[in-house]
Point group: C2
Chain length 469, copies 2
């Protein structure tokens, strides 16, 4: 029964689009920046809004406290069409967002969502979190809403988990999954936090890079010094830090951390051929953001550099006087935030240890380096032989009228690894973001077509899964 | 007559000390941070306070506007003892101060001056500007006040120039000196903005390093990028900046700017012997600020590194996300403030050109570097054969009961060079700061003994100069 209702469900989604956008706007108005304690109340309010929304659809939804921001957990088994052949599902998204600085580069209030029309005619939803991840998670809720409205049921046993700490290292996630293993373990996870391969080509992400984050602070003199009185003999922590950061890559773009590449596998010749066949242009990819020369390992293609090669990136640096004008000071300390993207079998803690060993070796004897750990996650490689992957590919290809692709993903989506390791579930990673969405940047947006066809895509995926024997 | 009054003048200074401290406190309460436009009114108020004070002593004092902060100019020729044999004098100081960040490292409000007693029993005046330069300039005003009160005259024809932009590159100074050349040209300049050699040994600074300041901004992508989506192929401006900064010194501590050492003279064997005889310990000098290994040129003593060798220091660096927590961003740009201390015949503009050439050569073709010039000044070497230098040495030695030393000065005091070049005056650079005064740092202070004996020293210098045939 479920699948025959699909055309009506899709029509309903289109008819209900304006109201769906209004619902998304309500969620986007919460400044739920999880990394900054000042926004803790806003995170709680966003979570409560989602609970209210899901209960309104008939889910049994509730706020679940953690030491950080709350989880939203909802169960909809009672809503499931008994005739469905679908596996039981856990849908995952996150309601927290990135910080908004530099605020002066935004054209409008990041938390006052609006629909804009781009010069090329595309309509977009502009706000922090539009694509990452509020717009994406709402595509799934809207798909459920339409199925429920049209058929009175959902086409599968669906549970939902929304996290509020994805943008700040997910400190509460693993304990929560471990404490609620039985409740949250379903046959398959669905995750909507990734992008299209290109605006026409839907994608299922089957390789995800992991991450290892560190903050290092170089401490030199016991106080800030006058660069006239001490300049020359006094160690300058910015100079020490620059030497450290400069030493982390060699002249060919390879990372110099000891043992860094030990557990990095080359991709299979078959996958390499698939990737080479994709309509990807390094010049176009970099050109879109004003760059042109791939800065990673010189002997790897830009696509490999993003999808299957590890990196060491500097995400922030600060030291000394950084205000208006000039101050002739030698700072007491300087610090940097560094993150490595990891692939294959790289162990984040082994990489962290190698990083600390190398950094420590570059610090003069009268200076000190202090390390602060940030989150870490292993890379994930999905088993794409499971039949649900083919079902999803069929559904996506039908909606977008273009063959869906199995792709890599440069960003870390640690949740997929946790679902594999802790709950024994594979994940279908399907998302509708585009490269120009300004994810993590000022003026973040989500294409109206991503939102509309994203919801239609999930409606189709649920329908297709419900037909599976 | 003047000189016979000296003992009474000195007694009066001691008797008036508490009131003198109160007057200094009044000046210290103005947050006259010249580099930050937010404090422009405070700068004007500090200048007005000085005008009022000098007029009260009988000087003809006035505020003189500039495009930036006003100058204070005062003339006291009418007050001069006709019997004095002294050369005509121009005293220089500055009423502006350094910024106070990081504010959290101050133990008290930087602009609420207070007398504290250190664990070793020393009494100190604690405030931003206590030593640099409000406390120092007030030693001269108090010396004039005592001479005037005791004798009804001043022991020389004295003019005064107080600047309000010394800590922000003195943009208005040269035009002002050029426009008022005749009015300000006297036989000799007195400058109180330097330190003692050590707490017992008074010093006359006869070699001053110059400076060249630059701010560089490396621009990479046209916007901030997600380090997952772009990490690897996208140029990271922090990585580019780190490579640049790391390339500015070689492994022996020498600066690598092309031609940097071309115009650097070695000091004379005679001066080298004098410096070697001074009670200076690199271990003690660095140990006082928690360091131990001289970080400058390896083949030069720490004293040479400060007084007679040029440097390239990094005064500030910023890029990417530097707030709480972590943000996996690749920034669009990163920047650093860099300053070179200059010696001998080094030309700041030649050094600037070499710096820009080297930096530009290290920027990838798809990135851009933007340079912003900050102030510059040449090094100054005084002609110490002028008789006033010996007169001053006699006066200082008498007050401190220790032979005064001719020393170098690591900091830049561009005014001395301008006086030489623009007004044809040599400068007597005498000051009473100590190494532990936290100049330009949190918890700046000025020893009560520096203030008391500083005023007495100036009283003696004026008396000694008045005896000169």
């Amino acid at each position: 029964m479920s699948h025959s209702a699909l055309p009506a469900v899709l029509d309903r989604l289109d008819a209900d689009l304006d109201a769906a956008v209004e619902r998304l706007f309500a969620l986007l108005r919460f400044p739920s920046i999880s990394t900054d304690p000042a926004y803790k109340p806003a995170c709680a309010e966003a979570a409560a809004w989602l609970v209210h929304e899901l209960n309104g659809l008939g889910f049994a939804a509730e706020l679940r406290p953690t030491p950080g921001h709350p989880m939203v957990v909802a169960h909809g088994d009672a809503l499931a069409d008994p005739a469905s052949a679908a596996p039981s599902l856990l849908f995952y998204g996150h309601y927290d967002v990135q910080p908004v600085d530099p605020l002066n580069l935004w054209n409008a209030d990041p938390f006052a969502p609006a629909v804009e029309t781009l010069p090329d005619g595309r309509r977009v939803i502009r706000a922090r979190g539009a694509v990452d991840d509020k717009g994406q998670l709402m595509t799934f809720i809207e798909a459920c809403r339409a199925w429920k409205a049209e058929t009175g049921t959902l086409p599968a046993k669906i549970s939902i988990l929304f996290e509020g700490e994805e943008e700040s290292g997910s400190p509460s996630l693993i304990p929560f999954l471990e404490a609620n293993r039985e409740e949250l373990s379903r046959d398959l996870a669905l995750i909507c936090d990734t992008g299209m391969f290109d605006p026409k080509t839907p994608a299922i992400s089957t390789m995800l890079r992991g991450m290892m984050g560190e903050e290092i602070t170089v401490k030199a003199a016991s106080r800030d010094l006058h660069s006239g009185m001490y300049g020359g003999p006094a160690s300058n922590p910015i100079r020490v830090l620059a030497k450290i950061l400069a030493a982390l890559h060699d002249d060919t773009g390879r990372v110099t951390i000891p043992g860094f590449y030990d557990d990095v596998d080359d991709i299979s010749p078959d996958l390499a051929r698939q990737w080479e066949a994709l309509p990807f242009s390094a010049a176009g990819f970099l050109g879109a953001v004003g760059l042109e020369i791939p800065a990673g390992e010189q002997d790897r293609s830009a696509l490999e550099q993003i999808w299957s090669r590890p990196t060491c990136e500097f995400n922030g640096v600060i030291g000394g006087y950084t205000g208006e004008g000039f101050k002739t000071v030698i700072a007491a300390e300087a610090s940097a935030k560094v993150s490595c993207r990891l692939v294959s079998r790289q162990d984040p803690e082994k990489i962290r240890a190698g990083f600390r060993e190398l950094v420590s070796s570059l610090v003069p004897a009268d200076c000190e380096v202090v390390f602060k750990r940030h989150g870490s996650s292993e890379a994930v490689v999905m088993d794409v032989t499971a039949p649900e992957f083919e079902a999803a590919r069929t559904a996506l290809s039908a909606e977008w009228e273009t063959e869906a692709a199995f792709v890599g993903c440069g960003g870390s989506i640690p949740i997929a690894g946790h679902f594999q390791k802790l709950l024994g579930m594979e994940s279908l990673l399907i998302g509708f973001g585009n490269d120009d969405d300004n994810m993590h940047s000022p003026n973040e947006k989500y294409d109206m077509e991503s939102f509309r066809k994203g919801a239609r895509s999930w409606a189709r995926v649920l329908g297709e899964l419900s037909r599976k024997a």
